[in-house]
């Protein structure tokens, strides 16, 4: 079994500079020792540098918010532009052990702890820290999180000129209504797909005006093709990792891989290279039946991302492994249909966002996928303050309760140390329950 390493290990040396520059939580985490995984971490942590360098070189920086996977594909059609997600700032207070003061800054701006920790982005905008101030902010609203909308509106109140676009709530087709097939195998009303496509066309035109670049069909097709290449890599890695009898990647590294599908971490070419390396690593380990966790680890469906990455490692410490995930990124991994006009294709992948539908539908989709990976238990992580984690959490627990697997709901604060006893007790109980069911099926 491949054993994880800590920050003091020589192989983790490339990450120590990030610890020295404020990412203090790295000292509490465990890393896959393979150089490809260390490079993956380094790539994710170094995004601010890439963005600032690009902006300094005259590049156009787009802050995309909440759509998670759609706008960056449009932006990729403009050679001199890069998109990133200020939403990702929600991990900063954890990584920096609150030393960055982003949440305190958000408090002062009137967005307190009753909101999702994504409010940390307000602190970054206010201080101009952690990411460069974008040249254009684009935020999806409509069926997205209520509290995220509030955070973005507060940002607009601070003077940011946000380009809003609507991601409508998912609905089933009415009887006789025309439908389209979505890349995730679901069906959606044609009218819904057309509405999203119209919104994307509006964004395309706005991006042209803002950058002065021409985003024609050929450019869009190239961007979509490039994005789909990344998505295909991520899907393959994920499928191999989740299906393998011995987990070839730790949970946190698998999360980082999924994150790359969102916006390529601001460097599409390097992203593809890294994913190639990770894919080769996973293929090698799967072929050798080599894992990073015991082969009898309990296979867990994990719903919702965690602000504190350490919690995923507690799952592993307590005898679990990921069998399936819904980190709210399904739409970023959905295959982009290459036989459709680019914007129509992108609209259909945007509708694969499980968060725009009901919690029951979201749970059903996750459970269906998890069954294919042999899940034995479910963890529903709740995010304090987040409408898609806090309020929806209990509903998700109820929604997955009928799946036949034991379910544990856990609330994960930005730094989970104070709740470690309770969280780990739940995880351990879940592992014990799932193991007991291996011998006696109800």
């Amino acid at each position: 079994m491949i054993v994880g390493i800590d920050l003091a290990h020589p192989a983790a040396a490339p990450l120590r500079r990030w610890h020295a520059s404020g990412s203090l939580r790295l000292a509490d985490l465990r890393f896959d020792p393979d150089p490809a995984c260390i490079a993956l971490w380094d790539f994710v942590l170094s995004e601010e540098d890439r963005l600032r360098a690009a902006q300094a070189a005259g590049g156009f920086i787009v802050g995309a918010m909440k759509d998670l996977g759609t706008v960056p594909v449009l932006v990729a059609a403009i050679p001199a532009a890069r998109a990133f997600y200020p939403d990702g700032a929600w991990w900063l207070p954890c990584l920096q052990r609150h030393s960055g003061g982003q949440l305190a800054a958000a408090d002062r701006l009137g967005i307190g702890e009753s909101f999702c920790p994504v409010r940390a982005l307000l602190g970054c905008y206010a201080a101009g820290s952690d990411f460069p101030t974008p040249d254009l902010d684009i935020c999806a609203v409509g069926a997205t999180c209520d509290d995220f909308s509030a955070v973005a509106q507060r940002l607009a109140g601070l003077g940011r000129d946000i380009l809003w676009w609507e991601l409508p709530a998912f609905r089933e087709a009415d009887p006789g209504e025309a439908v389209v097939a979505l890349p995730d195998g679901q069906r959606a009303p044609l009218a819904l797909a057309q509405a999203v496509e119209r919104e994307l066309e509006r964004l395309r035109q706005a991006l042209e005006r803002a950058t002065g670049a021409t985003i024609d069909a050929a450019a869009l097709a190239r961007a979509v093709q490039a994005a789909e290449t990344v998505r295909a890599q991520v899907r393959t890695i994920r499928q191999l990792a989740l299906a393998a009898p011995a987990a070839p990647l730790p949970a946190v590294e698998l999360l980082l891989v999924e994150i790359l599908a969102l916006h390529f971490c601001s460097d599409l070419e390097r992203c593809r290279e890294l994913l190639d390396r990770i894919l080769a690593l996973v293929q090698r380990r799967v072929a050798a039946n080599e894992g990073v966790l015991p082969a009898d680890a309990v296979r867990v469906l994990w719903l919702n991302p965690v602000a504190d990455l350490r919690v995923l490692q507690w799952l592993e410490d307590d005898g679990g492994r990921l069998a399936c995930t819904d980190f709210m990124t399904a739409q970023a991994m959905a295959p982009i249909p290459m036989d459709l006009p680019p914007l129509a294709a992108l609209a259909r992948t945007a509708l694969c966002d499980r968060m725009i539908g009901s919690d029951r539908r979201r749970a059903a989709l996750a459970v269906a996928e998890a069954r294919t990976y042999g899940a034995e238990a479910v963890v529903v992580a709740r995010i304090p303050g987040a409408s898609h984690g806090c309020a929806e959490g209990p509903a998700m627990v109820r929604a997955v309760a009928g799946c036949g697997w034991p379910v544990a709901g856990i609330e994960v604060p930005t730094l989970a140390d104070s709740a470690a006893g309770q969280i780990r007790s739940r995880l351990e109980s879940l592992m014990e329950t799932a193991r007991a069911r291996r011998t006696v099926q109800p």
Binding site: P406, A408, G409, Q422, T433, V440, P442
Partner: protein
Amino acid sequence: MITAGIDGGSRAVKAVVWDAAAGRVLGRALCDSGPDAAGVATACLAEACAAAGLARGDIARLTATGYARAVIPGADRRVTEITCHARGVTQLLPTARAVVEVGGQDSKVIRLDASGRVSDFAMNDRCAAGTGRFLEVVAERLGCGLAGFGALVAAACDPAAISSMCVVFAESEIIGLMAQGRRREDLAAGVVAAVAARVAALAGRGLPGPVAFTGGVARIPGFAAVLGAALGAEVIVPEAPQFTGALGAALLAVA
């Protein structure tokens, strides 16, 4: 084989000595938790051994459970409270299909399958709402202590509606109600009803019965009936409900 189980809870440490061959409890002990969890557990086990007329060396295997399970010395196995309460209940009440345990720090609802194993569970959030600690604070405010709480509840005529489940706000609410002249008995009954409602919400719909009610709070007279009404299920309090987890641990030590 003689085994033992220690349940290192947040408010009390419980120890049970079990004779596997005879299938009976030989001795048990309960001590208040303290800053030295390992020391209290050791003393508690010694007390349980003394009650059984045995020495520590007579214990063949020991299982630790509860929040302090990681630091209880000499344990051969460490198992969560969920599994231990389920095992203890299965021994005491084989027909039970669910367990409600109101502990000092958290509340648990455990569903059991036909073989008595855990099929699913739920635990309260990290605040004190619906826990023994909540009741303890209220009992202190009512000037009766947990031991006298049941007598107050039994004498209630018109249970008060307690809307706050945050322990701090509930205490303020109770102070306000006392200032309005509400009887202590009615306040105590109102608090019990509020905790039972909280547990019922945690359980969700369709909790199968009979339900075993364990933990020290189960000893409060009248609480089981209120809980049964809130759950809509038959609620049974096993013998010595505060020892159920420790008993389950002792039983699991046999395997």
